[in-house]
Symmetry: none
Subunit: 196 residues, 4 copies
């Protein structure tokens, strides 16, 4: 049954997500995937080509989830500033979730420089995020809150760079209580470099 298989795959991917977050890309085993999913060791190899395939699928799945959340957050708002705030808000979702995601995400991008497949998936994620950035900037330019002279592509990239830079730095400091501060700083920084 096709549907059953898809559910199984997602079950394993979710398990793999938490397993990687806990153990790390380097240390996680197929047995961990099975344990986290509450299934037997053979299942993973039944639904995925191999370990590498689980990883690719996981990166694809998780970045798409993140992008979906960001989209929904932005689409709910109608002014540029509200959209930007909603974007940042959806990205800085909570210390727990950010920690889990960025642990896994960092593992992937560390690998990505040596893995074509991960690079491609991440590039797609980047393109999606840059698109959101551009949308917000265009809105702001039309509203007159952001200058027309801004380079659209470049600015969109800087938005994402700032977000990732902030969340990575926050993760490295390992202090949940700084989460709110980094969120505010990130938003303020972006607003400051986008303003007229």
């Amino acid at each position: 049954m096709k549907k059953r298989a898809l559910e199984r795959r997602e079950q394993i991917l979710k398990a793999a997500f938490h397993a990687v977050a806990d153990k790390g890309f380097e240390a996680v085993t197929l047995q961990d995937f099975a344990d986290y999913a509450g299934v037997s060791k053979g299942v993973t190899n039944y639904y995925f080509e191999n370990k590498e395939d689980v990883f690719s699928s996981l990166l694809d799945w998780v970045t798409k989830q993140i992008y979906k959340n960001e989209c929904e957050a932005i689409n709910d708002q109608s002014s540029a500033m509200k959209k930007l705030e909603a974007y940042i808000h959806s990205v800085f979702i909570s210390p727990e979730k950010n920690r889990t995601f960025y642990k896994v995400y960092l593992d992937f991008i560390a690998q990505a420089s040596r893995n074509e497949r991960y690079q491609q998936i991440n590039l797609q994620f980047y393109e999606n995020c840059w698109g959101l950035g551009r949308e917000i900037i265009v809105f702001g330019q039309e509203e007159g809150v952001f200058p027309k002279e801004l380079d659209l592509n470049q600015s969109a990239k800087m938005i994402r760079a700032t977000i990732d830079g902030c969340l990575i730095q926050w993760l490295m400091c390992n202090q949940d209580e700084l989460h709110e501060l980094y969120k505010q700083s990130c938003l303020e920084t972006i607003v400051r470099f986008l303003r007229c």
Copy 2:
């Protein structure tokens, strides 16, 4: 002789640096370290406790090297803007060197969230970099090019977040020709959010 041992350690660390850059934290072996250093397999274990010890020492060594370069670049300049430019220039040193360093650095910070030792070393690196940021901002505030209202600590952190965010994004795009663009964008972004 002590001196000889230190040279040997550095020789191995340099070899390890390139080996990790090429193969990745996860895949690199002690044999790789030996091969890159042009020595035999046992040497690494003779000069280091174990593989983990090589990694810690490597992170410590490489971040200190980077910081030293940044310091020298800044100290050579006397105005805030010149210092900032020199800082960015020293960080965005060249596609080749940035690629090598950030590949390795990403591997480490990906591990750092699960490794106390790496976290500490990286935190020290952060503190050092934040110090440089503060120095530049204070200079600029005295010169009047940056507003007095800027939160010194927060802004210094945002400078480093932007730098790391940019270089990671650049690395992920895997296009050397974008290096110059990211360097300019990074500088411009920082200048824009620091300005009055």
Copy 3:
């Protein structure tokens, strides 16, 4: 299935027993265990925690086997002297079997002085053997062939000391034809120090 696993463990323990007898505690490898059992290298680590765990299990298993044989031999007899003869007969079972067992046993007790676990297992074996000695002596005292004044615990310990002392000395002489002589001497020695 549990039963299959237990069979497998026993298969490996038997293989390990002969491997240790041939190569020695110090030199035997996991590969040897696998080769002797006719399985692949990974199997041992699948059924046992590690090499140490194989050794502990082996000592436990082999001493229990020996004790079981001794029990059966004694229980088949009804007079003290017959029991003693049966005990010695079951211990001095054959040059081949004694050589194999005492080679392995010596390896273990050599380690035992530095290994808590082996010491415990051997102590249990001792307690069991001393129990058999006491049983024989009590029987003989009731029959009137052994004096009432004998210290039960002490004499039981001396019986085992004599047995081990004889078999170790026999093994060291490396002459199978002396086996019968040592058996007779051992029995005679014990009878002489137990008699009235």
Copy 4:
């Protein structure tokens, strides 16, 4: 200088003796020998062919020392029973010394069944000890305290078997306070099986 070399060898053998007692035959390293002797790692290979050579020399040296002590103890006495008591007394010298020696000795005899050289050295030790036993028995027979019918060779072997059996059992029980008890039991047992 020949004399200097002999001193050096003895220094290393003494160190090796304690190193083996502490770490065990299996675990002891050439580095341990050097550390215990307070010399550098290369010295051992300078004065001995290889590790194996150290071990053989050690077994030879230590068994000869033991035999020398036993001889002296016996020669100081003039009656059979006094000689036997002196023999047992010199063997059961002290918990500390017996523990150290028997730990090492057990390690060697465990190896001896697979090592021709150790076997030969131990056989020489046995011959020496049996000789002492015979000397005591002959004395006793002449004094009339031991029966003429005793098989001289067989009885001498049983004396040593009882001694080794007792000291090994004592060592395995790991209770220093039992040392005196085992000494008494050993003597009593030997006296009982030698008496008329």
